[in-house]
Amino acid sequence: MDEAKIIQNLKELKQIKPNKEWAILTKKEILGEEYKESRFSTIVSTFRFILQPKVLAPAVLTLLVGLFLFVQGSLPGDSLHSVKKIAEMGQETVAPNKTEFYLGIAEKRAQELNEIVAANQVEKLSPAIKEYQDSLKKAAQSIAENSKAPEETILLAQKVNKIKGTTEKLEKDLNIEIKEIKELKENILACLRGDIEATKTEMAVLAKREIESLRNNNSLTEEQQAALAEAEALFEAENYQGALGKIILLSYPREAEQE
């Protein structure tokens, strides 16, 4: 055997190694309590590292965003749809306007139902219809429970009108009745009526105040007195907007003439 072969065979002896289990066990025996404490503290320090806000927050955020984007395409009846709904619950907690949020969800459910109808996924129809009905109910409740400014009511009414159109089409396509849309319509109409009444009341109060003030004014010209009489007549007829219009003309005759 030549030297090269001898050296080659010597290097093969590198395969001589102790049993791995024996090696681990021996280390444990040598270190005793130190080994147990250290394993525990390694686990604890790993958890502490992960739980640090600077590590956890971005990691969790990335995970949540990724998951949220992934489940967006899921439909009622899909296994991941529940995850999508959980994500929506999270959004709900931070939504500035709950009613607008719920109407947005109702629109989503309507869109999902339309997709299912278009794809003829019969097995998903029942859960999808149920989810849509639930979303309409929730939106209707939110409209009834939450007070809104008149301009907001008008925006919400526009959304409800759109949902109403979508629902009518779905009712026609599926040959079903979705009763929950009725409650939604009624509630938004009630809000609108309430706003109109409130506005009417405010105009009535304003008109009454102005008329009384003008009655006590002894320096009115004949023309102004005639205008006041017209304003009073309109007020009696509950045309408060008209009455206020006359009062404005009465107060600023020169500007009105120029106009």
């Binding site: 030297e3 050296i7 010597l10 093969e12 190694k17 270190l31």
Partner: protein, 169 residues
């Protein structure tokens, strides 16, 4: 104490295989190799915990292992291994043997290596099997680098001679 633990952990993981092999090739017994390896690392751990400064852990652990084998030989004389008994040399249930799966050349090398002079065997093992540089081997064996090179060279020559005799058996 955590520093000692980490230090020992590092030394153990890095050198347990090498020390085991180094001792095994000297004592030719798996059980004895395990015992002496274990003892070598216990001594290392004890040195760390008493605050002993270990500048070169590799040289340290090899020296400890070497001294333990010397003590072992003092208690039990080292008997030359018969070339004809190479098949009896190892424990049949040994994992080492399963790994080799009856490679006759390797078996011969093991036997012949076991019969080398201790300083030759050490030098050859550390240089060719553990791939240590001459400077490191010199520190472990407490010899000059030139002496180490000579020992390695003579070790190979002796192996070649004994293997030649083996083939003539």
């Amino acid at each position: 104490m955590k520093n000692h633990y980490d230090r020992f952990n590092q030394i153990y993981d890095q050198y347990v295989d090498k020390i085991y092999r180094f001792i095994y090739l000297k004592v030719n017994s798996e059980d004895m190799a395990k015992d002496l390896t274990s003892e070598a690392f216990i001594k290392t751990w004890q040195s760390l915990t008493v605050g002993q400064e270990i500048q070169n852990p590799q040289a340290f652990i090899y020296r400890v292992a070497r001294n333990l084998v010397i003590d072992y030989y003092r208690q039990k004389p080292h008997l030359p291994v018969s070339l004809s008994s190479c098949s009896e040399m190892s424990d049949p249930s040994s994992n080492i043997e399963k790994q080799f799966q009856f490679n006759s050349d390797i078996e011969k090398i093991k036997v012949v290596l076991a019969n080398l002079k201790d300083e030759h065997r050490e030098a050859v093992t550390l240089y060719y099997i553990d791939d240590l540089p001459v400077s490191e081997i010199a520190e472990i064996l407490n010899k000059k680098e030139g002496t180490v090179r000579v020992l390695v060279h003579r070790g190979i020559k002796e192996l070649k001679k004994q293997l030649g005799e083996f083939e003539n058996v």
